[in-house]
């Protein structure tokens, strides 16, 4: 089995000129966590994810401290909202490099790549490097588990 058997073909993607605000609206409306950013030929040039958006709300100074257990109330940090200027930036300024797999990639290979790069969703591309689908850890996991032998009754 390869990733095409479990990927979603109906991918929501954005263009590099899309603003951060527009991308956020799409994430909310579709209730998804990752948007591939594609060029005019539909080739992925990056991805913008929920965590990239949330660093605008909760900057990564939190991660400087080894352990935030002792913070019960984030106080003034709660009031941090991205400025209009930030929201009007294009997704290109915020996106991360896209890690993609070919459509003939096997399930275990795809899962191994996701583990290695700590990804939860991964765009799938055709031979011509065009975006054809997106797959997630759950999609791949379910596809693998469903091949397990069924218990005898």
């Amino acid at each position: 089995m390869n990733v095409t058997s479990c990927m979603k073909r109906n991918v929501v993607s954005v263009h590099e000129k899309t603003t951060v605000q527009e991308a956020a609206v799409i994430l909310v409306k579709k209730h998804i966590g990752l948007l591939p950013v594609v060029d005019k030929d539909d080739k992925p040039i990056g991805v913008i994810g929920m965590s990239d958006m949330l660093t605008l709300e909760l900057p990564d100074f939190v991660t400087f401290v080894a352990d935030v257990d002792f913070v019960h109330d984030f106080g003034a940090v709660e009031d941090i909202h991205p400025s209009a200027r930030t929201l009007n930036k294009t997704v290109k300024t915020l996106m991360k490099p896209a890690i993609t797999v070919d459509e003939d990639c096997g399930l275990l290979r795809a899962y191994a790549l996701m583990l290695q790069h700590n990804l939860h969703d991964m765009p799938v591309v055709s031979k011509a490097e065009k975006l054809v689908g997106i797959t997630s850890r759950v999609d791949i996991g379910v596809a693998i588990l469903s091949t397990w032998p069924k218990a005898d009754k």
Binding site: P59, D60, F61, V62, F64, V65, A66, D67, V68, D69, F70, V71, H72, D73, F74, G75, A76, V77, D79
Partner: protein, 428 residues
């Protein structure tokens, strides 16, 4: 002796320029420079492998390594966060009070631990606390770097240049407490009051959220209270032994390494984790610099400098000392103070051999190297660390800000030290 001198000077200054211009990492530069110095030294007959090994001051490396192990073990216990959160709670959300408390904590820590370590551990919690309060972390970060640089000058173990000077001049832990600490106290007080005035506007702003600060729970910051207690006991014991190391005829490095050994046996941590947190790059940098400066010495460069300085020996010794403070400070503001100190040591020793009273000069070197680092944004590693961290906040520290806040502190501390130096000169 002209060719060896030119070669060794070229290697040493070439390395300094590479480090200063950030073209090449300082440890890589130092290793390459050391290898080149030994190689060319052997070809041109002015340096040898044996001489290079002898040039390494293992007392300095041992003291640094021992203290690094103790800190590497203390770091994951959450003790440093505990102190910062305690300060935040005690400040009751008043920025000025927080400023005073964090300033004092940073200073005291940096008197016994490396400045860089102190800042690396305190600055991230500071940012978090300030963000929770809704105030700019900038005044706190700048002051932490400046005050830790200043406080570190007070003790033998507070600052790497002091470790170097103590080892080279045979000055004990108590010598530093008697001769350096009082002068540093006055300079520190001057720096602190100046910072309070310079940041008055920022510090008088009302924080947006005080309630959240009072909900921080210090006890939850201590992940390993038992381990923290054990390491602090060992650290305390080590400090007691530092007081008497001279009377017992043991070197500070033996005290530090023994303390590290006792803590390791008592706590039995995952040694790989501890070793990962040791700043090997610092130890390598020091080792390689010793080899490089050893080359300069063997090529006769230091003798030539001493010869030049002797010509100006009709300058009154006090003026010579004060001049040294300012020259070393100016150099340390633009280049790392460690190579400056390592290079100055043989020069001062040479002056001693030429019959000059050099004890006061060691102190001048310590004050200049210690306070000079405050002058620019790249003057010390602590400055670079707070600057880098501040870039993640909404109030990044810039060179322009440093020139308005750090430079005055450097000038103030050097001025106070110079005045006191002149007054107590005869006691040195």
């Amino acid at each position: 002796m002209v060719v060896p001198a030119i070669l060794s000077i070229a290697i040493f200054f070439g390395s300094l320029i590479l480090i200063f211009s950030e073209k090449l990492n300082r440890s890589i530069t130092a290793i390459a420079g050391a290898a080149l110095m030994v190689g060319l030294g052997m070809i041109f007959g002015f340096y040898s492998e044996e001489a290079a090994l002898k040039a390494i001051d293992f007392n300095t490396l041992g003291l640094l390594f021992g203290m690094m192990i103790l800190v590497a073990m203390l770091e994951p216990t959450g003790f440093f966060q505990y102190l910062a959160v305690l300060a935040a709670r005690s400040s009751k959300g008043k920025p000025m009070r927080l400023f005073i408390l964090l300033g004092i904590i940073t200073t005291v820590l940096s008197m016994f631990l490396d400045n860089v370590t102190t800042v690396v551990l305190i600055a991230p919690v500071t940012i978090l606390i300030c963000e929770i309060m809704g105030i700019s972390a900038l005044p706190f970060l700048v002051s932490e770097a400046l005050l830790s640089n200043t406080g570190g000058v007070a003790t033998l173990i507070g600052d790497p240049p002091n470790v170097l000077i103590g080892s080279a001049a045979g000055l004990s832990f108590n010598d530093f407490l008697i001769y350096s600490l009082p002068i540093v106290l006055f300079s520190w007080a001057g720096a602190f009051l100046l910072l309070r005035t310079l940041f008055k506007k920022e510090l008088s702003k009302r924080p947006r959220s005080v309630k959240a600060i009072m909900r921080l729970n210090p006890s939850e910051t201590l992940n390993e209270p038992l381990i923290a207690r054990r390491i602090l006991i060992v650290l305390g014991g080590a400090i007691l032994f530092f007081f008497v190391h001279n009377t017992l005829h043991i070197s500070p490095s033996l005290v530090a390494l023994s303390a590290a050994a006792i803590a390791l046996v008592w706590v039995r941590p995952d040694i790989q984790e501890v070793l990962k947190r040791i700043e090997w790059s610092v130890l390598i940098f020091f080792g390689a610099l010793f080899v490089m400066v050893g080359g300069l010495e063997h090529a006769g460069v230091m003798e030539a400098i001493v010869g030049l300085l002797e010509r100006v020996s009709n300058v009154p010794p006090i003026l010579f000392g004060v001049g040294l403070i300012w020259i070393v400070a100016a150099l340390s503001a633009v280049v790392d103070n460690v190579p400056i100190t390592i290079a100055m040591i043989p020069v001062i020793k040479g002056l001693g051999e030429a019959g000059m009273d050099i004890t006061p000069l060691w102190w001048a070197l310590a004050f200049g190297a210690g306070f000079g680092g405050n002058g620019t944004i790249i003057g010390s590693t602590a400055n670079i660390i707070v600057t880098t961290l501040s870039e993640k906040t909404r109030h990044p520290i810039t060179s322009k800000i440093w020139n308005k806040r750090g430079l005055p502190v450097m000038l103030m501390t050097c001025a106070i030290a110079s005045i006191l130096y002149t007054i107590v000169y005869n006691w040195f």
